[in-house]
């Protein structure tokens, strides 16, 4: 019997045992769909986290005062007492290092913003013009704190603030009061939404000198540094730490972190998580494989006399083995294809329900899911097919 006839005949068999075939195809399809959907979720979570970090800036090195006892850390983590603060002079000193492309000092505080009889509390960032490119922020109108304008009382508003205080849209050039000083609105930030729990639509940014004056301090909250390239991140980190140690009388009293290190950790964790859930889903595929074996064994028992007939008609054992093998192949193939479609449909549903989660199933998972379905189906059919081929035709024909 040639390959085409074997495939046609076994396909006919699969179609004619409709209920049985549908159930087994469903079992395989659910397994494959589980692999696709779960890995899409895992991969989506990973991409989401990576995306959030990237939105903070690329090749970013962050200097914060104080020494963390443990390595690693989180940008917002509360750190212990600091013997010596970071200053603007520290920041300027760092900027001369060869690995540093640009830097932005950062001060953060809360102050009252008022204009036209309206008043609200806002988070105020004090920084320089370099903050914009380092943090990947964009302006929707006006200009940012122009270089050399650190001493002019300019303010840039988040989009929500601009709308709240100046609903008519005429924002640029307006005067607004922050704390006790009057500022000139020079620009408005583009809508960016929340990133790492920080909503840039509701902040105001002023020159760092004014911020230090406003909050009555001469220290910095952070220094954000952008390294020249990805390869310069680690050298930059070391150089900054060394430079500040020298400036601080040999005391290592600052912490330099790179988002790459944090990002890599999250990336590793979430990749492992994705692999883990894929493995769990694959177990359901193994179960489906056992189901295929069971169904095929029942099929051999049910069709004993038919197998006897085929032998009487002169079918060699190899033909009969291939027929049952092809039958399992069809079932797994249909299950794999339907499961793949079902899984992608599920992932699409997740993306629809949670637009911020990029739940795209990774290619390797789809391939592995369908391949596992095929391989388990094929493996599961080996024993039943061999059993069918071994049947004694005389006994098979008499239905014993």
């Amino acid at each position: 019997m040639n390959l085409r006839d074997t495939l046609t005949l076994s396909c006919q068999t699969v179609v004619s045992y409709r209920t049985r075939s549908l159930l087994i195809v469903l079992a395989i399809a659910l397994g494959v769909a589980a692999v696709v959907v779960l890995t899409a979720l895992g991969e989506g979570a990973r991409r989401y986290v990576v995306g959030q970090f990237s939105s903070l800036g690329t090749n970013l090195v962050i200097v914060l005062p104080g020494r963390a006892e443990t390595s690693g850390g989180f940008p917002g983590a509360a750190l212990g007492q600091t013997p010596r603060d970071l200053t603007l002079d520290d920041a300027r000193f760092i900027s001369h290092l060869p690995q540093v492309k640009r830097y932005a000092p950062l001060n953060v505080g809360v102050a009252e913003l008022s204009a036209g009889g309206k008043l609200r509390e806002v988070t105020v960032l004090g920084s320089t013009v370099e903050l914009l490119p380092i943090r990947h922020m964009k302006l929707s109108q006006g200009s940012f704190l122009a270089p050399g304008s650190e001493r002019s009382a300019q303010i840039v508003l988040g989009s929500v603030l601009a709308h709240e205080f100046f609903p008519d849209g005429k924002v640029i050039g307006q005067r607004i009061r922050l704390g006790d000083s009057r500022f000139l609105v020079s620009g408005v930030l583009a809508v960016q939404g929340e990133s790492m729990g920080f909503n840039s639509d509701e902040i105001a940014i002023i020159p760092v000198d004014y911020a230090q004056e406003l909050f009555n301090t001469n220290t910095l909250f952070r220094i954000l540094v952008e390294a020249r390239s990805r390869n310069d991140i680690e050298p930059a980190k070391a150089a900054i730490a060394h430079a500040l140690k020298l400036r601080h009388d040999g005391e290592e009293d600052v912490t330099v972190i790179t988002q790459d290190a944090i990002l890599a950790t999250f990336d590793r964790i979430l990749r492992a998580l994705t692999l883990g859930v894929a493995g769990i889903a694959a177990i359901s595929l193994a179960v489906a494989g056992i189901l295929v074996m069971n169904v095929m064994l029942v099929a051999v028992a049910q069709r004993t006399s038919e197998i006897g007939l085929l032998k009487a008609l002169g079918a060699p054992a190899a033909d009969i083995r291939r027929l049952f093998f092809a039958e399992a192949l069809w079932l797994s193939l249909a299950g794999g294809a339907i499961g793949y479609a079902l899984g992608n449909l599920g992932a699409w549903g997740i993306r629809l329900a949670y637009p911020t989660l990029p739940a795209w199933p990774p290619v390797w998972a789809s391939v592995a899911g369908v391949a596992t379905a095929l391989i388990t189906g094929i493996l599961a059919s080996l024993l039943p097919a061999a059993r069918a081929a071994r049947l004694d035709p005389v006994l098979a024909l008499s239905g014993k």
Binding site: M1, N2, A312, G314, P316, V394, L397
Partner: protein
């Protein structure tokens, strides 16, 4: 031609040995019409299975059309069955999922014949066995006589030299049974060796040579 020489076939039932065939020697020439009769358990079906290469004798030699087929491999035996032997069973043994035409096509498929030629040969067989308007029906939609006609068409589609029928009318009423026998005898007239195993004396008497069996041995052989 069929030449059996001292064929023995022993079955084990628990600790008992049953000699289904006990040193049977038999020559059947090409084109003969032979009936094999005997009570249940006389070994007539086992004899038919050995002749049809479905069963292997425990001892003795079997020569078919001049070549020794006793020690052929399983695959070789399948090929000889396909090319030289046609089986007709009491219970028809049609594949329930397949239509009449597809059932008849099965041996052609196993032989690896191209679809176009298969179709013309199946059409010819449907014509010859008066099944033209039943071609697309499944076995469940056919009468007993039609089913057996499909089975005979399937058994003869590869033009075997010998047709082996085990109680071919056992599941049919008298009139339909006679029709089926007439069909088989027509094939015999066309040159096929016909061997019929039956309980039915009347049916057995129609053959040109009558072999009687008892306890695994041939006890009568008359022409």
């Amino acid at each position: 031609m069929i030449r059996l020489n001292a064929i023995t076939r022993v079955f084990r039932m628990g600790d008992q040995e049953v000699r289904a065939l006990n040193g049977v020697s038999l020559d059947i020439a090409s084109g003969e019409y032979v009936s094999i009769m005997g009570p249940s358990g006389s070994g007539k079906s086992t004899l038919l299975n050995v002749v049809g290469l479905l069963d292997r004798p425990d001892s003795g030699r079997y020569e078919l059309d001049g070549s020794d087929v006793t020690d052929l491999s399983e695959t070789e035996r399948a090929r000889v069955r396909r090319e030289k032997i046609g089986f007709v069973f009491q219970s028809f043994h049609l594949v329930p999922r397949l239509t009449a035409a597809e059932n008849i096509e099965l041996p052609l498929m196993l032989e690896g014949i191209a679809p176009a030629e298969r179709k013309s040969r199946v059409d010819a067989a449907l014509d010859a066995f008066d099944l033209k308007d039943r071609a697309r029906h499944r076995p469940a939609e056919l009468s007993g006589g039609q089913r057996q006609r499909v089975a005979i068409a399937r058994a003869t589609i590869l033009r075997p030299t010998a047709l082996l029928a085990d109680e071919p009318t056992g599941n049919l009423d008298h009139r339909i049974g006679a029709e089926v026998m007439a069909l088989l005898e027509g094939l015999h007239h066309a040159g096929t060796t016909l061997i019929v195993v039956t309980h039915d004396r009347e049916l057995g008497a129609r053959a040109h040579r009558h072999i009687a069996m008892r306890d695994g041995e041939i006890v009568g052989d008359e022409k």
